[in-house]
Symmetry: C2
Subunit: 176 residues, 2 copies
Amino acid sequence: MTSSPNDLIKFLRRLRTVRDFTSDPVPEAALADILEVGRWTGSASNRQPTEIIVVRDLEVRQKLNAVGASTAARAALVLVIVTPGDAARFELEVFDEGLLAERLQLAAAAHGLGSGITTLKGDGPDVAKALLGIPLEKRVRCVISVGVADQAAIKAKPKRPEPRKPMSDFAHFEKY
Amino acid sequence: MTSSPNDLIKFLRRLRTVRDFTSDPVPEAALADILEVGRWTGSASNRQPTEIIVVRDLEVRQKLNAVGASTAARAALVLVIVTPGDAARFELEVFDEGLLAERLQLAAAAHGLGSGITTLKGDGPDVAKALLGIPLEKRVRCVISVGVADQAAIKAKPKRPEPRKPMSDFAHFEKY
C-alpha cells in the first residue's frame, strides 16, 4: 500500500506540539524507526553534524526539565540533539538541527506518538553536558520529548488555540 | 484511507535532495498544499517568524542561481524563505527556518515532486533582497528549488552516493 498525496499532506499538516504524556513507554520498534529517520535526515553538504542522546532515566529528565526542557519529566523519553559547536558553522548547525527536529517529530507522529520541542535555557546546556557526558565544546540546546499523548489531560485543559497567520501574511508571489 | 506507520516512516526516510528537474510545472494544487503545510509548521513559542516568496520568473531564478541557489534556474519554481532578522532571536529564526524547510520538502515529496535546499552565498542575500523587494533588515538565506525530478538526468549522472554515518555514531543511549 502506498499513501495518497492527500493522506501525506494531512499527516504533515496535522503535526502539533504535545505537552502532556501518559506513563506508557515508547515501543522499541517505534524508537528504532524514529532514530533511523533521524539518521537519514539531510544536512548541508551532507556533513551530518547532528547526534542524538536518548534519555529514559527519570532523574536525568527531571534535571533537564528544571533547566528549560519543560516537558522532559512527563515524557517517556527525550531526544537531546548535539552538534559539533563549530563557531564558523554555527548557522548551518542550527539550521540542520531544525531539519532533524522536524523529521524526528514527524517520525514519532507516524507511530501515533506525541512529541514536543523544548529548549534548554540559561545554564541548561552546561547542565546537560555535565549530566550526559557531552564534551564542553559541543553545542546542545534542543530537547525533544516523546511519548504517548495524554488525550484526557489535553482535553481537560482550557483550550489553547495555536492559530496561524493568514496565508496572505505567509506566502508572497514573485515579490515580497 | 489512513497511512500505516510503516508507510509514513518509509516516506520520511526516503526524502532525498533533487538537483535535476524536468521542464514540467508544479501543479497549482500541489503548490497550494505545500504552502498550507508550510503555514502550519510549528515555531518557537508559535511566533511564526517565517515567510515565503514563491518565484517562478526564470530571469529572477537565474539571478538567484548565480549567487548560490545552485538549482534555482533548473527548477519549476523556488521558495525563498524570509525571517525578521531580529539579531536577539537569530538562533531561533534559523532553527525555525530549518523546521519549515524540512516540512516544505516533505510536502513536495507528498505530491511526488522533487526539491532541494540551496543557500545564498556571498552577497546573495542582498541580491535577493533587491530582486524581490525584501526590506534590508530581514534575513534571507535559504532557497528551496521545487519541480518534477528528472529521473533520466539523475540516472545518467555518475552515481553520487549520499551515505549516512552508522547508527552508533548518530544515536547514543543515556550518555554521550
